[in-house]
Symmetry: C2
Subunit: 252 residues, 2 copies
């Protein structure tokens, strides 16, 4: 008897960003797997069970969820933001790819959500209005040399960049290294947006020129957007400046 | 008397992807600007007015919306997907940047949504689970040489790519050119996902190896995701294969 597994994106944090599709997937499930702060966002019924795990345990969490679904469970794995962007959808696929054959018969689906960079961009203006890339700065899963090569490629090709997982206790200095790399390839005035807790009551958006960007301006809950040479500021009376990347591109 | 202007993302198409935040912003507005198919998705009240315009008229639409908001209107500009990704948020910022000073006093906000690539990725598995970029293939607003340079940079740096605006009647051959460029820089077996009408009843997801990818497989409503060298397929009995990009990266 094969069950079902949905991987659901909760959006940036508040119920007002949770899609009706995600709410329905949550209502249909009985067992919930995820990082505790995400499970804490759910208003579950008495017949729904929580299986919390730590932030660094994505693969074992995915295996536990697949095991229960293969045994007939109605299982939901939750991610903040969108589950497909540096989150649980890929971890569940990795586990399924390596796991027993019967995991592939599970009724599997991914429910998208508003990922952090979109929420930060919306709060800042329209910095992702032109071609952009999304890079996880964590070197837990790839060598730092790969990250550095991507930063340089993105800067030279004119992509705006969004950084996920910019810092952690185990990696306090990488974000400063990333800014140093970018300062060698982008003008000092390029705007850098630090978006913390976007879409939550304690949201904080800070914009500084690349020359002044420092790793200490971010924590684990920060998504960072680095503009391109064409990203602009709109100063406004009595309001924070808007940051946007024009849709057009003029060669300098 | 200054009014309000919200730029709202409707998500991939169905009301089940519209966030409560977007629904509330729509309920609060009186005048709606947008491309007709997006306005048609709204269930407006009798006291709410529609101002439809053509797909190619983003800047004049933005100016009309800002003019009305500056005169005290409660204005909403709608985009499919997320308004910050190749959509109206940047067009409104461009207009504000060039326009009269009083437009900067408007109570302006952007309400994010689920952008097309996230919906396509969710339907296919987790192809955006690793570093990725988003590129508009339209050369209306930038030279084709810039697009080609970005395709090569992204392929060489190992980014998965999402293509927006892949084709139009005026540009029937560019997508084939893009695939030809990529075939010179990526293995023939890299999966290419054609996601048409993702999140709608007529959704169609097609996955082919890069060697077989053709421009004729896409239309204006298609979002395309091109995998990296490490993007994988999971074959499933009686179900479409899942496509995913592992979170880790191993140098080949």
């Amino acid at each position: 008897m094969t069950g079902a597994l949905s991987v659901v994106g909760l959006g940036p944090g508040e119920p007002r960003f949770l899609t009706p599709e995600a709410s329905e997937a949550i209502a249909q499930a009985e067992d919930f797997f995820g990082y505790l702060p995400y499970l804490d966002r759910l208003a579950l019924r008495d017949d729904q069970r929580r299986h919390a795990s730590d932030n660094r345990e994505e693969l074992s969490r995915a295996e536990a969820a697949l095991t229960l679904a293969a045994a007939g469970g109605k299982v939901c794995v939750v991610s903040g933001g969108d589950p497909g962007v540096f989150a649980m959808a890929a971890a569940v696929c990795e586990a399924m790819d390596r796991g027993p054959e019967d995991w592939r018969a599970i009724d599997f689906r991914v429910v998208p959500g508003v990922t952090a960079m979109l929420a930060v961009a919306a709060s800042a203006g329209a910095p992702l209005g032109h071609d952009f890339c999304a890079i996880s700065l964590s070197d837990n899963l790839k060598p730092w040399s790969v990250i550095e090569r991507r930063l340089i490629a993105a800067a030279e090709a004119g992509f705006v960049m969004a950084f996920y997982n910019p810092v952690s206790k185990a990696r306090p200095h990488q974000l400063d290294t990333a800014f140093d790399v970018l300062r060698a390839h982008l003008p000092a005035k390029v705007p850098v947006i630090f978006g913390r807790a976007a879409g939550r009551p304690d949201e904080a958006i800070r914009v500084v020129p690349l020359a002044e960007a420092r790793g200490a301006m971010a924590d684990m809950a920060t998504c960072i957007i680095v503009g391109s040479v064409q990203t602009r500021l709109i100063e406004r009376p009595g309001k924070p400046a808007l940051v946007y990347s024009p849709r057009f591109w003029e060669e300098g």
